[in-house]
């Protein structure tokens, strides 16, 4: 074991941004010191997570195997709520590793983008950014549902505050409240599910590894599903996406919300929710597929008629969430892995493009900006050659295969969600590229602030890199999804034989 391969790394991933938040608060009176210290600490966080990535065992060897679920590495236990009860566990696995990396990068970008919001309340915003980073890291690393709910709620609260501290004096719509209500509701759902599941088991541990071997109440499964849905801006629960990343929100808040919120929900549900939902997963999966397909179609149609570029983009993000829902509801290794990969890959492009569209003044444009917009759209809509496509392709492939096997018939009226995904993914590119004409024909009166430009460069660069070399990220994800789905009661071909082919019981064989 190398010197880096210690569970202390996991604690440091949470502790460093927490300490940074405190230090930022204390140095608020000295802006230069605060800013430089913040950048250094954020860079340190990125380096730390890269260290975790470097010691992560891929593909996992036997020594890292632990329990029936995801392969937890760098595991550490700490008594959080009580020293008498089993301690809460933190660990890194394939499902949260990329999310942690994304979190650290987005936090750094948010810190730099904060400069665009101006000096007013900058110290508080910076504190909030680090607070979000610490809480989100805690959520991602936790294998205990109660701790996860606490961290999730903290993330929602602090992120709402960061969103609120935008540059505008008075937003037309309360962006922060639009985000906070569903965010806290999601935390509440996870929290209640945790307590309910714990009471249904031995009542001591809320760790997912301990709960998974027990019978989970149906109500808890409903709550866990609701937890997921509140992170995916599916119509009609989409307003947090369309409002919270809009007028009046702080740029750093938009970056964090656009880049992180959905991946937090999807990653969290896959790690903590899906393993506990396997008994009722048929119903849950059908709900996700249908809802996702409908939402994608509606969102594309509504996006196409939006005149405001920001609204159009936000509705497009709603449409993309529908694709993720269909993938998650397909109960197939390829589709579920694809959904998570799609979700992860879209984080940076979505965040940077949302920031760009919020900044874009109505009177500026130019061919250069049009090019940026075009490339960002390609990255955001997961076209071939960009990172999102490495998730979209297995999503479409696996989704159709799974639906075909579930239905047990070659005719596919129930496969329409996958067709909807295909149509939506293709149409969204056109919907988002249509305004490029207006952008290109305006005069360039202002230049893009360098933090936004940097964000776009990083987003496009990462999208291209993961688009042509998606294997490392996919390797992290696939083995853990496979383990989780191995416990799901997947319908097999044998259980869905047509009636005339089912074997008839021979009465002579009866005892």
């Amino acid at each position: 074991m190398s010197g880096l391969d210690t569970p202390a790394l996991v604690i440091a991933v949470i502790g460093l941004p927490a300490v940074a938040a405190l230090l930022t608060l204390l140095t608020s009176a000295w802006p230069t010191v605060r800013r430089w210290m913040g950048v250094l600490l954020a860079l340190g966080q990125v380096v730390l997570v890269l260290g975790v990535v470097s010691v992560f065992d891929t593909p996992p060897s036997e020594r890292a195997a632990a329990g029936p679920l995801t392969i937890a590495q760098l595991e550490t236990a700490l008594p959080w709520m009580s020293t008498v009860e089993p301690p809460t566990r933190l660990a890194v696995d394939g499902l949260n590793l990329y999310a942690l990396l994304l979190l650290s990068v987005i936090s750094l970008l948010a810190l730099l983008t904060d400069l665009v919001d101006g000096p007013s309340r900058a110290g508080l915003r910076q504190t909030g950014i680090f607070g979000v980073s610490a809480a989100a890291a805690g959520f991602l690393l936790s294998r205990d549902l109660v701790l996860a709910a606490a961290c999730h709620g903290t993330t929602a609260l602090v992120l709402a505050l960061v969103i609120h501290m935008g540059a505008d004096a008075r937003p037309r719509r309360p962006a922060a409240l639009s985000f906070l209500v569903p965010g806290l509701l999601a935390s509440g759902c996870l929290w209640m599910a945790a307590i309910w599941c714990r009471s249904a088991s031995d009542g001591l541990s809320a760790s997912v590894d301990a709960l998974v071997i027990n019978v989970i109440p149906s109500g808890a499964v409903v709550l866990l599903t609701l937890f997921l849905i509140l992170h995916l801006p599916l119509v009609p629960l989409h307003r947090w996406q369309t409002h919270s990343c809009g007028e009046g929100a702080a740029y750093s808040g938009i970056l964090l919300t656009g880049g992180l919120w959905t991946i937090l929900g999807v990653s969290g549900w896959l790690r903590l929710g899906l393993p506990l939902s396997v008994d009722l997963f048929d119903d849950v999966a059908a709900l996700l597929r249908i809802w996702g397909g409908l939402s994608a179609l509606i969102a594309v149609a509504v996006a196409a008629i939006q005149r405001d570029l920001g609204d159009r983009l936000r509705w497009a993000c709603v449409g993309l969430a529908g694709l993720v829902a269909v993938g998650l509801g397909s109960v197939d290794l390829a589709a579920t892995s694809g959904a998570l990969l799609l979700c992860a890959a879209l984080g940076l492009p979505r965040a940077s493009t949302l920031c760009l569209v919020c900044w874009l003044p109505a009177e500026t444009g130019g061919r250069g900006l049009a090019l940026w917009w075009g490339v960002s759209v390609l990255a955001l809509t997961a076209v071939a050659g960009f990172g999102g496509f490495a998730g979209l392709l297995p999503l479409l492939t696996g989704g159709s295969h799974a639906i075909g096997s579930v239905v047990g018939s070659p005719v596919g009226p129930t496969a329409w969600p996958v067709w909807a995904c295909l149509l939506a993914s293709v149409a969204l590119v056109g919907v988002l590229l249509a305004p490029v004409s207006g952008i290109a024909h305006r005069e360039q009166t202002t230049t893009m602030p360098w933090p936004l430009r940097l964000g776009l460069i990083v987003a496009v660069g990462v999208a291209l890199a993961t688009g042509w070399q998606p294997a490392p990220v996919a390797d992290w994800v696939v083995s853990d999804v496979k383990r989780i789905l191995a416990d799901a009661p997947l319908p097999t071909e044998a259980t869905h034989q047509p009636m005339d082919e089912q074997p008839v019981d021979d009465p002579e064989d009866a005892p």
Partner: protein, 453 residues
Amino acid sequence: MSHPLLPEVLLLLLIFVLAALDAWMWPRRQGRGFAHAGFIGLLLPLTAALAMWGTRAASGLPWLAIDPYYETWRVLLLTIGVLMAALDAGRRPEADDGAETTLLLIAVGGGLVCIASRHLLLTYAGLEITALALLARSVRQGHMPLPPLSRWLTAHALGAALLLIGIALFALGSGDVSYDALRRQEPGPTTTAGGILLAIAVCLRAGVAPFHGWLAPLTRRPGQELTLILGLGVVPAVAVMARLIADPLIGFTTLPKLLIIVGLLGATLGNLLGLVQRDLRRLLAFALIIHTGYALMAIGATGGPDAHLLHLTVAALALVGLAAATEFRAEQITAAGLAARRPVLAAAVCVCLLSLAGVPPLLGFAARTRLLSNLAEFDEGVFVIAAVNVALTAWVFVAASGRVLFAPRAPQPPPPARPERTAVLVLAAGVLVLSGLWPAALVDLMAACDIVP
């Protein structure tokens, strides 16, 4: 050497010293000297109590239970006393009155007595001492018009009467109304009736719905006074109820389920009333009703003392903290848009409100978690209803903190800036945050308390 009653002795000494000083110095006044003396003096018994907290098992003193449960309450009540004394120190110098500080200390002492009591008469005495001290203090401050005072007096008198009648009914049986004697007594109609009257009386003192009507007029008082009444007058009554339930006295064996119903009723009523409430003082009163309801549910679920202790701790700290933000005279105190004028004050107010809401990473989250865990093991239907109530509570107080942060600047002036008040508020908020981030220490201490000595 650490005598189990060291903090109480120190408190008593402090009371006598201040009373003597006040009598000697009257009618001359020395600014805020008494308030500061009370604040510093209370730190001594608090320090002693903190040092003893969680270190000793139950010690058998006649009629007094100095057990871990009492030690926890001792720390809590002394902390409330210290913070209230600090708020006193932040008031206008010409309003200083040595007798008020003395009465504050007496109220604290009365609360300690009723919690430690193992005898019904001593319990009655403790409750009365607290109530009368608070009443006298309010009268001395000279702000209270007659109608709200009369409603409070009526409720107090009714509660006292019911308590005495209940004790009398218990005494008809064996003549000895100590807890040990009552446990050994055979059940009968008089003891059942006595138990019921006793429960009603305690509920009346605790402001439990539907006996909460006397709280409403008090919400027009300045925040500090309201908090004192709620924090020292109401909260210990809940501890008394916990003692009575935990100790299976006659007539109380069937009460746990009834307590859950009453608690649910109180929490629901408080949530519904709080939804439309904008005045911060009324919201404080409803907060206490809600948390008292949760505490009663925790007591009725018999899962452990940590749940109700945490709830009352959160309620007390938050109330004390919010007292600093409501300490001025106005028809309605909303604190709307406070963030635009006084950001530090607004942040601390929000922490207190969010702690009442039960959102992480504050102590209220741990309290709700323990409560819901107990209820989930008790009954799933109750758990679901309680969960809905928890969500409503969160909505009420998150909305309130949202008004503090997001609302436009209100025409109402902010509370006057006093360093003592700001310090109390920040301290209360800090405790709520720190203990919320790492609740294990507090939860373990409280979970280790056995209510029955």
